[in-house]
């Protein structure tokens, strides 16, 4: 055995001890390749999802029905871009030792190597969808993100602190839109119910497959091993259902799943499994709006390439 390998083995052991002891890892600390790659995958996907997530909501920004709502949704989408910025900076520090930068992340996105969150591949068909995204998609995001607030990687945990604080406002903003509609005219009520029917499957997809048996792969195991997250996908989904099912029902909406029930014995929600084949399609960027949104981002990125060139020419 060479000295290098020995050293590597010691470092790995030391690192695992630190993780076990609840230590926090900083960007410049030594870390195993497996840990770095898992973080890069997780955080660059999270960052790029915030940015791609601006696109479905953005469609409704100019159309928001009142001045107050226009201001609210503008602020919300701006926050999401801000989250993207914050997270991509964390990701940039992680990929720097690999000789990569933000440009590479964008190219990875366009080439389909870097995925954006499954929920942002869906169409937003009405103002009801815009409200529902704020209320339930951001509500779901709060659940997954608070699950990582104590992540072993400190720069990510710090970014999440700020993000989660803002997500709470997003959920309130969404809930206010939904409540106004749910208490409104027949047509408005219909608008929310339609939105819920359309988004229910996507909300179940949100947390990812329950185990690798469902879709062939899940990255939850490594992230739990290294204390980046605590709970499994299914535990998070159960948490979401417990929190939101009573709220959804209390405002007079019907969840589009007649089999849905709470099982007292296992203390778990029993629900109709969504069609995981659709999920796999989204994973391959073959969801309802996958290609359109990628095209939008790619075209605008290409059309402003001259600007980035001009800026770097000036600095250089």
């Amino acid at each position: 055995m060479t000295a290098d390998v020995l050293l590597e083995k010691d470092l790995q052991a030391q690192f695992e001890e630190r993780i076990a002891a609840g230590d926090k890892i900083e960007a410049d600390d030594w870390m195993p390749e497996e840990y770095r790659l898992a973080l890069i995958k997780l955080i660059s996907m999270h960052g790029i999802s915030e940015i791609m997530g601006a696109l479905p909501e953005k469609e409704w920004v100019p159309k928001a029905p009142t001045l107050y709502r226009k201001l609210g949704i503008m602020a919300k989408v701006q926050d999401e871009m801000g989250h993207g910025q914050l997270l991509l900076r964390v990701a940039e520090d992680l990929i720097k030792p690999l000789g990569k930068n933000r440009e590479d992340l964008m190219q990875d996105l366009f080439a389909g190597r870097l995925k954006f969150h499954n929920v942002f591949h869906m169409a937003t068909k009405s103002w009801g969808d815009a409200g529902l995204i704020g209320w339930l998609v951001d509500g779901a995001a709060i659940i997954t993100q608070t699950n990582m607030l104590n992540a072993s990687y400190a720069p990510y945990a710090r970014a999440l602190q700020r993000i989660c604080a803002e997500e709470v406002f997003h959920a309130q903003h969404g809930e206010a839109i939904i409540l106004a509609l749910a208490e409104g005219t027949e047509k408005q009520k219909e608008m929310v119910q339609d939105a819920l029917n359309r988004w229910w499957e996507a909300l179940l997809f949100f947390f990812g497959p329950p185990s690798s048996d469902t879709t062939g792969s899940t990255k939850q195991d490594i992230t739990i091993k290294y204390k980046i997250r605590i709970n499994t996908n299914e535990e998070l989904r159960q948490g979401f259902l417990s929190k939101y099912i009573p709220r959804i029902q209390s405002i007079g909406l019907t969840i589009p799943d007649p089999t849905l029930r709470f099982d007292e014995e296992t203390q778990k929600w029993i629900y109709q499994q969504p069609n995981w084949e659709n999920f796999k399609k989204i994973q391959r960027n073959e969801g309802p709006k996958s290609q359109e949104r990628l095209k939008l981002r790619r075209t605008s990125y290409d059309d402003t390439a001259w600007v980035r060139e001009a800026l770097s020419a000036q600095i250089g």
């Binding site: 953005k58 709502r69 503008m74 991509l88 103002w127 839109i177 106004a180 605008s300 402003t304």
Partner: protein
């Protein structure tokens, strides 16, 4: 042609409100499409502030009994709008929902010219004979400071960068200047507005603007533009079809039920 209001305050408020409202709308179409993420965040903050300014003016109009602010913002047809032509122009080819091919040079040139003109007006409004206008101007000018800094930086940077950037900026500025004939106009209500000491006269403001932007134009080695007589005067409700398209989009949801609470 649009209705002219007896009260010059109303006339001026509509011009200010519609200007900021349309400018903000065009900004909101850019969301998610800016050259980089940092700019997206900064640009949308400006867009949001500007929508806030429009809201202030529409609420003042509401207070003067002109109708609900939301209805004033959303459903007045193009012929009743008093914004300048410059702010109603689209961001480039295509609709924001489908294949937008927006021009960043145009965004920078328009924003710089519009924001400097806004600054000159806001400064003058601070000593308006109308108390609520003067108070609004003080509040708005605090945010405006950052908007000015932002657009000035872009404007100078792109003019002084690569040859391609300079060419694009030159073209964009030409387009902006061609549409700015009514930017400093108060339309048919000009004499009433100035006589009531709500704001200084068109000519005084325009001269002040020219002086104000001169140092910036010197750094980019371009002559300060002069604005010709407007082909259409937005202050009098003369607009392009592009404005009605914008109004239709902005009011798409609101117009489905004017009585509903949203």
């Amino acid at each position: 042609m649009t209705q002219k209001f007896e009260n010059p305050v109303v006339e001026l408020l509509f011009q200010l409100a519609d200007d900021d409202y349309l400018f903000s709308y065009r900004g909101s179409e850019w969301l998610g499409l800016a050259p980089h993420i940092e700019e997206d965040v900064a640009f949308s903050s400006i867009t949001q502030d500007t929508m806030g300014h429009a809201t202030v003016y529409y609420r003042l109009l509401e207070g003067l009994g002109l109708g609900a602010a939301d209805s004033l913002a959303h459903i007045r047809p193009a012929a009743e709008r008093k914004n300048s032509i410059l702010v109603e122009r689209p961001n480039g080819e295509g609709c924001y929902m489908e294949n937008p091919r927006y021009d960043w040079a145009y965004a920078v040139a328009r924003s710089y010219i519009y924001t400097t003109a806004k600054k000159i007006k806001i400064d003058s409004l601070k000593s308006s004979s109308d108390q609520s206008l003067a108070e609004a101007a003080v509040k708005i000018s605090m945010e405006l400071y950052y908007h000015l800094l932002h657009w000035k930086t872009w404007f100078v940077q792109l003019f002084n960068a690569t040859e391609e950037a300079r060419n694009r900026m030159t073209k964009a500025l030409e387009k902006v200047v061609a549409d700015s004939g009514d930017l400093f106009s108060f339309g048919d209500a000009a004499s009433e507005i100035t006589n009531a000491s709500l704001i200084e006269s068109e000519q005084v403001l325009l001269n002040r603007w020219t002086e104000y932007v001169k140092p910036v134009f010197e750094t980019i080695k371009v002559a300060v533009p002069t604005f010709g007589k407007p082909e259409r005067n937005g202050r009098n409700g003369e607009h392009t079809n592009e404005l009605q398209d914008a109004i239709d989009t902005m009011s798409e949801v609101y117009a489905t039920d004017l009585a509903a609470a949203w």
